[in-house]
């Protein structure tokens, strides 16, 4: 490592961050301490270093004191390292002759004792100054950003993001991958949406067709992303198209094959209807499915299962689109950015045996009730009991699986509102008496409280009491042959037993079951409840720790449709800003080898998962392909002679920091 060219003239700027730091750390004392450090020629305190005046302060100080290195002691580098590097370079200093010391998240917010906090801040600044003294000027490398975008998940979030991206992008392709045979996600299952009660398919189907016909969107339906490699601007993605046993280009959706199928009656549970309605082995998930193409379920089709069938479907198909030997095929493509919109899974009500789901008759989850209420559902929009009668009394139980430390501790945010909507629709369609059992009626959105107001005026019976159990053990004559809901009406102060005909469980929202695999494939992290983790809850809600990958919708946490669409738009705009800038800055933290010291022992080559290190036969030394190197530094730590080192994290820098913190 070559010694620093000119003598270090370091400026240290300690931020109060309002009271966030000042409240715990004695900033003036820290400034005095910093001023006395070797190499420091200027030290000062300011209320908000990240603000414009704060940034100007640095520029002015660089001029006035001829600073050639800068240390800012404030918040976490993940927040403002880029901001201050830009300020420092605008002041004429190489942006990598700058070091940020975290005395907010690292000190003031996590320490009670003021004296110890100040002492900790001082020792971190001491380390920061020693480090910046030895830092070398570097240039950030820029990489072109491939304009194509991959969107994972074809629900409302994925569709909206794809459309926003496709409309803005001249010529660039949006690859929308949807695991189910049709896009539409969970929203396609709904009848109406709160609070405006406009019909889900009326606002969803136009978007679905728009996605189908949009020239810039390539829809990969009934497909899954299998692998993602590379980095921001240059992702290599492999997608597997699961076999529909139908040639998608030929099938026009005339559905004649379904009538011709050897199975005369539909006997297999239809996943889209959550098994409530039946379908044939060859089917279309729901009428407005996009793409409007059939598919064959290999577990149900006689030929695919047992290999013997008259294959009447093939004869019926004028387009000869049926191909029973179809195999899964994989396609690889390059994209610059990725939007993850994989949505949620409803809480499995079987995990709450006290409510008798799957045991007692006429106990349904909210999603099943949505299908009952939907005109394309099993009962064409009118919820019926198992014996075909209309229910006279219905109980809707809130917080099933949510706000319960035994299952999910978080509140799923949308169940109160959709329960009110279900109550309205059930009353409208069956005239039944509806009871809603809630802990807190949460109506936070625009027009939400007014919707609750409307339900109350419609005579909805609301009981503030979390239901303990649903049982069919009747104690009075009136309770016979009813489901008895047992709850304490906490406002009235009495424990009540309310006999009803039907129970609807307002199940909460959970992460998809394969979130862990998705997370590993994309190098993302998850929160404790299992939802994908955003970079920062307030400042970067749709970005992730991995540059170039954005998340939108329920995969990031329970939310309603307005918020989901808003996030989808945000994710699209974040991707667009990268695409339009056309290049992306890669941190110059790559490995660098000192050829006078490299003995060609090849230990480092095996360390690199990106094959960024090669062996030069003549010179008998190794060399680093900077473009491939991601800057992890594993090879530098393994190098037996210290010949290999990592820029900006050189041995000397780390050793200096160690000396500083002790």
């Amino acid at each position: 490592m070559n010694p620093p060219a000119e003598a270090p003239r370091i400026g240290v700027f300690v931020c109060d961050c309002g009271f966030n730091i000042l409240g715990v750390v004695d900033v003036p004392a820290v400034v005095k301490f910093a001023a006395a450090l070797p190499g420091v020629v200027h030290a000062e305190e300011y209320k908000y270093m990240c603000s414009d005046p704060g940034q100007d302060l640095i520029k002015k100080a660089v001029q006035e004191h001829g600073l050639n290195r800068v240390v800012v002691a404030s918040c976490s580098p993940t927040l403002h390292e880029r901001t201050f590097r830009r300020v420092v370079s605008e002041a004429g200093i190489n942006p990598f002759l700058f070091n940020m010391v975290n005395i907010r998240e690292g000190v003031s917010w996590v320490t009670e004792d003021k004296v110890q906090a100040t002492e900790k801040a001082e020792s971190l600044i001491d380390a920061g100054v020693r480090r910046v003294t030895l830092q070398e000027p570097l240039e950030a490398r820029s990489e072109p950003v491939n304009p194509n975008v991959l969107v994972i998940g074809g629900g409302i979030a994925g569709m909206h993001a794809s459309l926003s991206l496709a409309n803005a992008n001249r010529g660039a392709k949006v690859h929308l991958v949807e695991r189910q045979p049709s896009i539409g996600g969970n929203m396609a299952r709904f009848d109406k949406t709160f609070p405006t009660l406009d019909c889900a398919s009326c606002i969803l189907t136009p978007k679905m067709t728009e996605v189908k016909i949009h020239p810039n969107i390539r829809l990969h339906s009934y497909s899954e992303v299998v692998s993602v490699d590379g980095y921001v601007g240059n992702f290599d993605v492999t997608i597997e198209h699961k076999p529909r046993y139908i040639n998608e280009d030929l099938c026009i959706g005339c559905l004649k094959c379904i009538e011709a199928c050897v199975f005369k009656d539909a006997r297999f549970p239809n996943e889209f209807d959550l098994g409530l309605a039946k379908r044939k082995p060859i089917y279309i998930p729901f009428p407005q499915a996009v793409p409007t193409k059939v598919l064959i379920d290999p577990h149900d089709c006689l030929y695919l299962r047992l290999g013997t069938c008259k294959k009447t479907c093939i004869d019926a198909c004028e387009k000869d689109a049926i191909d029973l030997e179809q195999k899964p095929d994989r396609v690889s493509l390059k994209v610059g950015t990725i939007v993850v919109a994989t949505g949620f899974k409803p809480f499995d009500a079987r995990r709450k045996p006290q409510y008798g789901y799957g045991v007692l008759p006429n106990v349904y989850t909210a999603l099943e009730m949505e299908r009952f209420l939907s005109p394309t559902g099993p009962t064409e929009g009118v919820p019926l009991l198992q014996d075909g009668r209309k229910p006279e009394t219905v109980g809707i139980i809130h917080c099933v699986g949510s706000r319960d430390k035994n299952t999910n501790e978080y509140c799923s945010k949308v169940c109160c509102m959709y329960s009110l909507k279900l109550a309205h629709l059930i009353k409208e369609r069956t005239g039944a008496e509806v009871y809603n059992f809630y802990i807190d009626m949460r109506t936070p959105g625009k027009g939400y409280e007014e919707f609750y107001e409307r339900l109350l005026s419609e005579g909805l019976k609301v009981i503030r009491g979390r239901v303990a159990e649903v049982t069919k053990a009747a104690l009075t004559r009136a309770e016979k042959d009813h489901l008895i809901i047992r709850a304490e009406d906490t406002l009235a102060g009495f424990v009540r037993r309310i006999p009803v005909d039907m129970v609807v469980l307002a199940v909460g929202l959970e992460p998809q079951s394969d979130t862990q695999e998705l997370r590993r494939m994309l190098n993302l992290s998850c929160g404790h409840e299992g939802f994908l983790q955003e970079l920062h809850p307030k400042l970067a809600p749709v970005s992730t720790a991995t540059d170039g990958i954005f998340i939108a919708g329920a995969c990031q946490g329970p939310k309603d449709i307005p918020e989901t669409v808003a996030q989808a738009g945000a994710a699209a705009s974040e991707a667009l800003s990268l695409i339009h800038r056309g290049v992306v800055e890669i941190q110059p933290y790559t490995a660098v080898v000192n050829e006078e010291l490299c003995s060609g022992c090849k230990v480092c080559i095996g360390m690199c998962p990106y094959d960024a290190i090669g062996y030069d036969e003549e010179k008998r030394v190794v060399h680093v392909t900077e473009v491939k190197c991601k800057g992890c530094g594993v090879c530098a730590a393994a190098c037996p002679t210290g010949a290999m080192d990592q820029q900006h994290f050189r041995k000397e820098l780390v050793m200096a920091e160690i000396a500083g913190v002790i």
Binding site: C399, R403, D404, N406, G465, R466, V467, A468, E488, D489
Partner: protein, 206 residues
């Protein structure tokens, strides 16, 4: 109908009462209660209680010491732990009922009620013999809850005796009850933390 003042001024309440309960084993999560009512709903005997379990927890958090220790609820609780298992905030409500019972026992605040008396008799007998004899216990219960109930108990006792499932003569005793007493006496009676300068306690709530 007698008009009774139901509002409580803060100084009438015992601010330290909640932490007293929270400091006992099992009482630690009491601050997390959502007042959702699951405990009252699942409790098999909440409909017989003067204050439902939810209300008891609410009262403890409010510092209503006399209302809680003077309530019937804590004595009717059969400790079947249904509330503890169902509580979404994982508060051990059954343990809190026990804590309240112990406080009530220590400060003999409880109203003249059969259950505490029976339990005190149980403890005395077990301390003496190291084990319980059902027949002797039955007699004590009858003595405590009045002769009338004794009349109803007599046929049952008689039929059990004929079936050799109960006897007035045999006393179930350990070989060496003293070894049990050695253990118990080594534990100096840890009476539940008595209330600091207990607020002047009015007549127990309605």
């Amino acid at each position: 109908m007698q008009v009774v003042r139901t509002v409580k001024y803060e100084e009438e309440l015992d601010a330290g009462f909640t932490n007293q309960v929270a400091s006992e084993p099992g009482g630690d999560a009491i601050w997390n209660c959502l007042q959702c009512g699951t405990c009252s709903a699942i409790c098999p005997v909440s409909i017989y209680m003067d204050k439902t379990p939810r209300r008891i927890i609410g009262l403890i958090r409010g510092g209503f010491r006399d209302e809680v220790l003077g309530s019937l609820s804590i004595w009717i609780c059969t400790s079947c732990y249904a509330c503890t298992v169902e509580c979404p905030q994982q508060i051990r409500i059954t343990d809190i009922m026990y804590i309240a019972k112990r406080m009530a026992m220590k400060e003999s605040q409880y109203q003249r009620f059969v259950v505490p008396a029976v339990e005190e008799a149980f403890v005395k007998m077990v301390r003496k013999n190291g084990r319980l004899t059902e027949s002797r216990m039955g007699i004590k219960v009858v003595r405590k809850s009045g002769l009338r109930s004794g009349v109803a108990m007599f046929p049952i006792a008689w039929r059990l005796m004929r079936k050799h499932r109960m006897s007035l003569l045999h006393v179930e005793r350990m070989q060496d009850p003293a070894s049990l007493r050695a253990v118990l006496d080594a534990l100096e009676p840890r009476h539940a933390p008595t209330a600091p300068a207990a607020a002047p306690s009015r007549a127990a709530g309605a």
